[in-house]
């Protein structure tokens, strides 16, 4: 119990004293229990008064300090610092707001304002009597970060962290790095290819000693919390030794009798069970797809590097923070959606991009030369609620008309696709002469400088049509030809139809179908099912799980620049959790009274941060607070049926003594 309290009442140069009789306040509180000295001052925040307070605290060995002045938002920190300079623990300081909440708010009633000020100061004194010293909770934080996902966002974040002198473990589920970007050819804004960009980043990664790259690796378990996470990572073997002769390997690949669809080309081509994606793929040696391998042994006969004895490993990694960069999946149209899977020449935008990349002199798909291309926009994005469209009805039972139902759960715009498809069309026209591009849009969204690309496309002679929101384009067969028709807004609802050699469905981004790693960390998702940030503007790369940040398209659709920006932001945030080797947390936390508690679990349910769990104390089961996770919100307090929880600095005794002091004159 503090019994030598100093109280300072500020005039604020008239701002307070014009409406509140500060001398009256001083005399009203001077005899309160525990008050050792009471003073008024012209400006409590002035340098001179601050020095005077330090002097007073030291010479009189004060154990509590109250300043009645402006809002604590302005000067709580100032006066806590005064206390600290006088070697008084800052939690023995209590602020009374008598400017914003008294003199200014009640400038129309001086007597009322003075009376209120008196009670507020008494209430602050009541609180400071019960205050005691608190030390910040300091927890060690391991200076290391795990980056999950080695796409362009994850790779870039890993490099950045390494350059900030922070060790990184980069964990990639696939056997090759680069994610989606390695699948793209020439990228917009630069003349770089995706492969070149990935190569640059890969070279930067292997030249940094403090990055450990794990491919074919998956996080299977996680324990701990901010500053001290342990990740269990399971690696699957490549079945190829690192010291392999590329020539022999190619022969081994040629010898493999197994053919499976090649995911790298979005299944428009096939690959072997022993494979790599493209010649300069990283890491630069192939992998055996053990699920499809028949163990015929053909490759082993040719290449000594093949090693079926390799085994998967479990490794434990200790880090202070985790950066999630797990990327997206391209939307896969449902069967028959705009003829996908129904007509032979309907493909998605990612497939089209691969097709342009792997074709040389002429653009061919399934042996047919492509001249007329119809691009149907917003497939799988900007979907509308319900499936009431009558257009869905008429398609049934007619194999010649595709479904053009655009209902679904993906309300959001995938943001990258307009620019991506326009760019792809420009690049395709540059590579293959004589293409006719017909864009069936829902309004072009080439935001920012990307607009220039749209202008370029228009200059190229690409045709742009726009459908009405309730009347999407229709894909149908006519005399064996694939046709696309639209009621076009731009020409006042004229029906326009185009014979298409190839229909490209401009598919958007969807969250990863396999999101086991997200579930493992319990990262919350938004209504679009992508990972959710705490606050789009205030904390855009942080999650509610302390110490876990999110980067790139796992948070929502983004282009490369946007993904990298968010990756670098997340790197900074993750770095700040670990850079000092320890973390200081506010000591305002929930405290359990072990005698009263008999573990019912309600507090654990109420806690938004999973900071409460059952612990045993002697023979008894009680609730235990994890001090490094508790944020001091107090949500657990009111739910306890036996009132066994208090919040530091907001205990029942403190709150009730404040209420009593405020109510003093009332009865």
């Amino acid at each position: 119990m503090n019994s030598k309290i100093g109280v300072y009442i500020c005039h604020c140069g008239g701002n307070i004293s014009d409406y509140v009789n500060v001398e009256e306040v001083k005399s009203a509180i001077a005899d309160e229990e525990g008050v050792f000295l009471a003073k008024t001052t012209m400006f409590a925040c002035s340098d001179a008064t601050q020095k005077e307070m330090v002097e007073d605290i030291k010479t009189n060995e004060l154990d509590g300090l109250v300043v009645a002045s402006c809002s604590p938002k302005l000067h709580l920190v100032t006066f806590r610092a005064v206390a600290e300079r006088a070697e008084l623990n800052k939690y023995n300081y209590v602020h009374a707001n008598i400017r914003e909440q008294v003199s200014w708010a009640h400038s129309d009633d001086k007597a009322g304002a003075t009376a209120k000020a008196i009670q507020l100061v008494k209430s602050a004194i009541a609180k400071v009597r019960l205050a005691h010293s608190l030390d910040p909770i300091v927890i060690p934080s391991k200076k290391a970060v795990a980056v999950i996902g080695a796409g362009v966002a994850g790779m870039r974040a890993a490099i950045e962290l390494a350059d900030m002198d922070c060790p990184v473990t980069l964990i990639e589920r696939e056997h090759f790095v680069g994610g989606r970007v390695s699948q793209w050819d020439i990228l917009f804004t630069t003349n770089q290819t995706g492969k070149e960009l990935v190569t640059r980043l890969y070279d930067a990664i292997i030249s940094r000693e403090n990055i450990t790259l794990l491919t074919g690796a998956e996080v299977v378990a996680s324990s701990g919390s901010i500053g001290d996470y342990t990740l269990r990572v399971k690696t699957t073997p490549r079945y190829i030794n690192e010291m392999c002769d590329p020539g022999n390997l190619q022969k081994a690949i040629d010898a493999c009798p197994v053919e499976v669809p090649d995911e790298f080309n979005f299944n428009i081509t096939a690959r072997k069970a022993i494979y790599h994606n493209f010649p300069s793929e990283y890491p630069q040696y192939p992998v055996i797809d053990i699920k499809n391998c028949t163990r015929c042994g053909e490759c082993e006969k040719i290449c000594k590097s093949v090693d079926f004895s390799q085994e998967g490993k479990l490794v434990d990694i200790k880090v202070g923070s985790i950066l999630m960069a797990t990327g997206f999946d391209p939307y896969t149209p449902s069967d028959g959606e705009f003829g996908y899977g129904q007509f032979g020449n309907v493909i998605t935008l990612p497939q089209f991009k691969r097709l342009v990349d792997i074709n040389d002199a002429t653009l061919k798909y399934r042996g047919q030369v492509i001249k007329n291309i119809a691009y149907i926009y917003c497939v799988g994005s900007r979907q509308i609620e319900g499936s009431e469209s009558s257009t869905g009805e008429e398609t049934r039972g007619d194999g010649n008309i595709a479904s053009h139902d655009i209902s679904g759960d993906n309300r959001y715009c995938s943001r990258y696709c307009c620019t991506s498809v326009i760019h792809a069309a420009i690049e395709a026209s540059r590579k293959f002469h004589g293409l006719n591009n017909y864009h069936f849009t829902r309004g072009i969204r080439t935001y920012g400088k990307q607009e220039l690309l749209y202008s370029e496309s228009l200059k190229n002679g690409d045709i742009y049509l726009q459908s009405y929101e309730d009347d999407p384009p229709v894909v149908y067969l006519e005399n064996g030809d694939t046709m696309v028709k639209i009621n076009d807004i731009m020409t006042g609802r004229q029906e326009v139809s185009v014979k298409a050699d190839l229909v490209v469905l401009v598919t958007g981004m969807v969250p990863r179908a396999d999101n086991s790693v997200g579930s493992l960390f319990k990262i919350p998702k938004g209504r679009d099912n992508f990972f959710n940030e705490i606050h789009m503007k205030l904390r855009p790369v942080e999650t509610v799980i302390d110490g876990i940040t999110i980067a790139g398209a796992c948070q929502g659709p983004k282009n490369i620049t946007e993904s990298v920006s968010s990756a670098l932001s997340a790197a900074t945030k993750s770095f700040s959790y670990v850079s000092k080797g320890e973390l200081e947390l506010e000591p305002i936390i929930a405290v359990i009274d072990g005698d009263l508690c008999s573990w019912c679990g309600l507090c654990a349910e109420a806690c938004p941060f999973d900071a409460i769990s059952m612990v045993t104390k002697g023979t008894k089961e009680i609730a235990g607070i994890n001090n490094s996770i508790c944020k001091g919100c107090g949500m657990c307090l009111p739910v306890c049926p036996v009132n066994a929880i208090n919040l530091t600095a907001y205990s029942d005794r403190e709150l009730e003594s404040m209420i009593d002091a405020l109510a003093e004159q009332m009865k």
């Binding site: 701002n15 309300r411 959001y412 400088k449 607009e451 503007k537």
Partner: protein, 433 residues
């Protein structure tokens, strides 16, 4: 003269105290680097601190900005000069830049001012308030705006009559008419440019009548009328102070328009107009709001849903460009436009027209480096020389760009861009050490 310049050194110089510059400064300071933040205006907080609510969450802009701003201004590793400008920066070596900075006099001793506003009450001079776009007046001795940081007075010396009333009223005697400009020579290891953007000047499109017709205003002017720190308690049209009930938004004013030299899309106008339309539907339940657009670009997280929400609330979206705006005698406006859906030219009458002016580059960008050339793009935004892999990098090593100084961006993207800039600046300093 160099001898008179005050010298100081910091790890980083951040030019611009808007949301991007502030975020970048805070990121660096939170990781232990010292930062000098230079702001031309009298308060930090940039454009964002003046906004009403922000899309697509409709949380209030001041609620987001003010806690950030106070964190920045209180941070022990961040030094802020408001009312200051960077004259010139010289790159001397990899991690050594020398910057000439001038701090203009405020005529108030910042440390002593308590923000009590007594000088404001005493000052007899009334001029138009630039922070409220002239909707109301302010004094020559004034606190820039209620949530300014620092929240201290300044003397508008151009309009001041030197009557001395403020000096007499000031309880801390902090008004000092003898203040002079102070020049600093500052050495830093890295520079972050976060100079933001300017809004397109609608006077350049005379056919829209801005400046001639009183009831044609810009969206930023509307923004002030909708903000919590707004000048009036409701939305009024400037012509006659009437509450408007047929409002029109003209999108792409100064964007996607080669005739005025700006072919690019400004990225934010669709969304801020949709946001204002929603707020107007709340503020003026009986009003009709029409948005004339070319394409609606609701591309960000939660944006399309926000657009749908506006349609659901009854905002009228019309696909068509505005050809001409003319004024009627009663101050109402006739908009001549091409209705694309109906394929005809139509006319519509509105009583308040809001021009959704676009984003143009800040002309200051060209002036910071005289000896090294800072590459700009064709629109005078700062060129991102490695846009895909290092979006904050510029043509000068060690100089990074944050926020809209490199091109149009919304707030979430600006903040991420600031994160990228601070990240690259930190790794630059650390790896060069």
């Amino acid at each position: 003269m160099t001898e008179e310049k005050k010298k100081a050194s910091y790890d980083a110089l951040v030019i611009g105290g808007g949301i991007a510059g502030g975020e970048a400064a805070l990121n660096m300071a939170n990781n232990g680097f010292t930062v000098l933040l230079i702001e031309k205006d009298l308060s930090i907080g940039g454009k964002m601190i003046h906004l009403s609510k922000v899309f697509p969450t409709l949380d209030c802009s001041a609620c987001i900005t003010t806690p950030k701003v106070s964190e920045i201004s209180r941070h022990p590793l961040i030094t802020i000069y408001t009312g200051s400008e960077v004259r010139n920066i010289n790159r001397l070596s990899d991690t050594l830049f020398e910057a000439d900075i001038i701090k203009h006099p405020r005529y108030v001793t910042e440390e002593d001012c308590t923000g009590c506003q007594l000088c404001e009450q005493a000052c007899p001079v009334v001029v138009s308030d630039q922070y409220q776009f002239g909707f109301v007046g302010r004094k020559a001795a004034y606190i820039p705006f209620s949530i300014a940081s620092p929240r201290v007075a300044a003397i508008d010396i151009e309009n001041c009559t030197l009557c001395g009333a403020c000096e007499k009223a000031c309880p801390t005697k902090c008004i000092d008419f003898t203040q002079q400009s102070i020049e600093y020579l500052v050495r830093v290891k890295t520079v972050i440019i976060a100079t933001g953007f300017n809004l397109f000047d609608p006077l350049k499109i005379p056919r829209f009548g801005y400046g001639r017709y009183k009831n044609v205003i810009t969206a930023m002017e509307m923004e002030r009328q909708l903000a919590p720190t707004r000048p009036f308690n409701t939305v009024l049209r400037p012509g006659d102070g009437k509450v408007p009930d047929r409002l029109a938004y003209v999108l792409c004013t100064g964007s996607r328009d080669v005739t005025i030299g700006n072919p690019i899309c400004s990225q934010i106008c669709c969304m801020y107009s949709i946001k204002q339309a929603q707020l107007l539907m709340g503020a003026l339940p009986m009003a009709d709001v029409t948005i004339y657009y070319i394409n609606i670009r609701s591309f960000g997280k939660g944006f399309e849903e926000f657009y749908d929400q506006a349609k659901g609330m009854g905002v009228n979206f019309v696909k068509g460009k505005i050809g001409l705006i003319s004024e009627k005698e009663n101050g109402n406006l006739i908009l001549r436009y091409e209705d694309v859906n109906a394929n005809t030219v139509k006319e519509a009458e509105h009583d308040l027209v809001i021009l959704a002016t676009g984003v143009v580059s800040n002309p200051d960008n060209a002036s910071f480096f005289t000896n090294n050339s800072l590459k700009l793009d064709p629109f005078s935004f700062i060129c991102q020389t490695d846009m895909l892999a290092s979006p904050a990098r510029t043509s000068i090593e060690g100089v990074f760009v944050a926020g809209t100084a490199s091109g149009p961006m919304d707030i979430p993207d600006s903040i991420l861009s600031a994160g990228a800039a601070s990240s690259e600046a930190m790794s630059y300093i650390i790896s060069k050490q």
